[in-house]
Amino acid sequence: MVRREIQRFCIYTLFLTILVLPMVGMRGPEFEARRAFTVLSVLVGVLLLTTVFRLLRETSFYRNLGQRIRQRRDRALGKIQVLPRPVALGSLFFLLALFPFAANNYVIDVAITVLIYVTLGLGLNVVVGLAGLLDLGYIAFYAVGAYTYSLLNLHYGIPFWFALPFGVVIGSLCGCIIGYPTLKMRGDYLAIVTLGFGEIIRLVLNNWDNLTKGPNGLLGMDKPKLILPSFSDGGLSWTVVPLKSLPSLYFVILAVALLTVIAVHRLNNSRIGRAWIAIREDETAAELTGIPTTLLKLLAYALGAVFAAVAGAFFAAKLSYTNPNFFVFLESCVVLSIVVLGGMGSIPGIILGALALIAIPELFRELASYRMLAFGGAMTVMMVLKPEGFIPATRRKRELHEEELESEEAADE
């Protein structure tokens, strides 16, 4: 055990040296030794820590620690679960509704971003978590939603709410377009094609100057509007109020996110959701039991795309601006990370994941680029310790911790 870890450490160090020294050190013709070795030493240091950590994991101290933490957590969760479900959900909703009156604009802005990513995460969860189709280009549908609204609004003056159905239709069409050619693909191949599709959308937006104004982006879309009754001139009249303030926009995206939660929850427990899970677990067996796999996979893509398109339209309306650089590959990665980190297939997990990945980096904004480093580190630690995510869907938990659960059950008996 110890020998294997040390062996591994040496191999990785060698690998890093070969990789990092030329990549970091070679600046033009000269070799910057100091720079290269600084970076290398940091990396090797991290590697050393990981090795020590891996060795510690095998000790009984660590095992006991894990068990103690689990017990504490279960006890804490037990206390929360004392509240009846409707009461808990109701008070949560109440807090969410009151939130903008207690917070400043900056915090509300962050909250809006979190809610956008909750919507995106839940949408991607339909594709990845339920149907088991790895999608690395998901952000493309977000872009489609944003540009659909922007173009419709700028050219035809269509207001936000009326543009939404168009966004939904075009988004789901795009979902089918990416879905159709990939139906026969599985695993890695599918991931590569979706990755390519995401980039194609971004590059088209970037280069179709006549339509999208290229990298300059589109500017000046209307905010969402509400029609409210007013009693100003004695009688009842209707006024159109643009939702300019951040709190009002917060309520719009809160509604979108809540609807998404409800929709995904319903899907999760539906016949369709069951069929998706069957496809994820064994596609051939699913086909043989009479599940129309082709149709359902397309449906997963289309539905996933719909949520992203709605979020995208809101995003463009909120900023009154959009440009292709909002929709880079990294964004797809962030959304995927939210799903994986939070817990695939689990709605509370994904909400927590969005909070963790969007709000927490915001807290450490002063640390600038180091936060990406911390982010990467945290992801790695998380995947080592809790690969099923913060709040795993029960099914997923069974899959990854089968031995543990079994041994616990055995201990109970």
Binding site: R271, R274, A275, I277, A278, E281, D282, T284, A285, A286, E287, L288, T289, G290, I291, P292, T293, T294, R395, R398, E399, E402, E406
Partner: protein, 243 residues
Amino acid sequence: MNENGPAKAVLQLNEVHTYYGRIHALKGISCRIPSGGIVCLIGANGAGKSTTLMTICGVQPAAKGEILFEGRPIHRMRPEQIASLGISQVPEGRQIFPLMTTLENLEMGAYLRKDRDGIKRDLEKVYSLFPVLKERRNQLGGTLSGGEQQMLAIARALMSRPRLLLLDEPSLGLAPLLVERIFDTIQEINRAGTPIFLVEQNAQMALSISGWGYVMETGRIVLADRARALLEDEQVKKAYLGE
């Protein structure tokens, strides 16, 4: 006697060709499954036995030829349409849903059915056929033993109330005692009225419960006869019965 097999067929394949990309997996297969009987298809690994079943179910569609189920052409249909007609396959290697419980697996088998009462009755029926599944109903499919998984796979296929049951290597990787148990059950299912098309490498076992048998070699059917006759056939004895 018909050269291609028994008369009055529930399923009939006429000159079926199937390709995997460029690989010509089935080179003109013709066979017939009588309504009510058990027919087996034996042959070595890679002869195309599983492909034959996948072609019937539409998962690996036929490129040429004709497949008739109860007189109706099905070779252009999609897998879910074929399944809804009543052809149910137990795939090779016990492809159950590992993260679903036994009960959930069985419910997936009845995916195309809407009659709740009927499903409940059939659930009791398969439980009486495989009592161990009732004990294990809340256990994950993936944690069942090999034999239990095979039973679950068969039970899941039965949950769709098949009019024809296709079985792919039900004896694969099972202890001899279990194999016998499974084959007894297959006969029991057949006696209850479901015609069975059985693909097996265990030729002895398969032929002993079948009425008719086909022998397959590299994508072609090379022999077709009554199962009893095949058991006596010198060629078959040498190649498949290990005598």
